[in-house]
Symmetry: C2
Subunit: 234 residues, 2 copies
DNA sequence: GTCTATATCATGATAGAC
DNA sequence: GTCTATCATGATATAGAC
């Protein structure tokens, strides 16, 4: 009984923290706000998580553990069906970014709140968060990177890595959904807060990402050896 | 003489604030840090700028005023030469994003420090900053949006607006350059801190953006009327 | 214009009763 | 596990001497 109550408290803190960190950032959210909105005592965060930093990490781990497993599961499944043949770039992109975007509809996995938090966190000022995220992502990103190398054997690996970065940026910003810049003044983005928006966003973003990924290679100002040097990593 | 000194003080505060806001974010940077590193008195910020918020706005205004003018100048010049004909998408993209990216080489306009600050700020938690940025950008973005509409008459306007967003996201993340995710584990991105990195980044990013912008239109799960409805803004 | 000193308040964390 | 009370620190901002 006491333990059940404690689990509720823990989860309630995590839920509120997730939402507040999303809305105001890590530095902009105080433990007093969190504990107040979660209707728990101020000391509860330190009791359950040890510190504000550990709380932040737990907010992410709770969601990323599932996302990492799902991304791996999807990739393994696709590679099993391909039976040694390279995957299509669209499959890989969907496995990585589509799996992420579909979390928007799954409130049990954080839904849009977590997606927006994640989107904003890639450029989060606090270094410990970026370091933590990099560590959490490393293994899965590596597998998808390798799949792309195999799927696009004619594209220099350096280009693929860069384009992975660009895809991440476009996706992060899209899910951060800050409406920071009202690109639309006379024209309103429909239903900006509902999942309806995501239904449209996903295919739109996918088209964009794939177009960028398969775009003609850039011309550098130097000669062809430049590209070769880049591929080899210097 | 006293005025010259005061100008120096003002500029020194702005320079230090720009660098610290970039590195630690708005909430993560205290006025004590700023005034300490700028070797000015703690009260100097309030004397010269009135408040921390006003300082932040001035940090941006100092750079964005020039960027906005330059983007307008470039677009006007291109449209003058085109004499009524639509511009090429690559011209428009270069006018907007290329003009921004070339600031990296111009230390007098803030160089990489300001670019990284700007990249991180689009997802900045503090709302007053995003509101301020949106206001600063509005007019110029609107002009470029119209140019894209004219250049791509067969693409629904809604798609163009979305793809503008995606391009902004990819660019922001690229210039934020947080190295948040070490996408490369066995492969090091060369010269990550030098302008040499930008020389390669610009054509790479441009290829990606144009590929995404001109990608085939997405297929929605509903019928064709869906796209029409989207174009009309509901 | 610049400085010292300080007012006022919020923060993260903890000790210790219950 | 939960609470109150409090510590130590750092925040922004300002008043007033020089």
């Amino acid at each position: 009984m006491a333990e059940v109550k404690s689990l509720d408290t823990r989860e309630r803190i995590l839920d509120v923290a997730e939402r507040l960190f999303m809305a105001h950032g890590y530095d902009g959210t105080s433990m007093r706000q969190i504990t107040s909105e979660a209707t728990v005592n101020l000391a509860a965060v330190n009791y359950h998580f040890g510190s504000k930093e550990s709380l932040m990490q737990e907010v992410f781990r709770r969601r990323l553990d599932w996302l990492n497993e799902e991304r791996m599961r999807v990739l393994n499944e696709m590679e099993r069906e391909a039976a040694g043949n390279p995957l299509k770039p669209s499959q890989i992109v969907d496995g990585f970014f589509g799996t992420l975007l579909r979390m928007a509809d799954d409130d049990q996995r954080g839904g849009m709140t977590f997606l927006r938090l994640l989107g904003r966190t890639l450029t989060e000022p606090s270094e410990f968060i970026r370091t933590f995220l990099a560590h959490e992502y490393a293994v899965v990103v590596d597998r998808y990177k390798e799949a792309l190398f195999k799927a696009l054997p004619d594209v220099p690996k350096a280009e693929i890595v860069w384009r992975f970065h660009f895809m991440l940026g476009a996706t992060s910003y899209a899910i951060a959904g800050t409406d920071a810049l009202r690109l639309v003044t006379d024209w309103q983005i429909e239903a900006a807060d509902s999942e309806d928006r995501m239904d449209r966003l996903v295919p739109r973003l996918m088209s964009f990402l794939l177009g960028g990924l398969r775009s003609p290679l850039p011309q550098f100002s130097n000669d062809a050896a430049t590209i070769e040097a880049t591929v080899d990593g210097k």
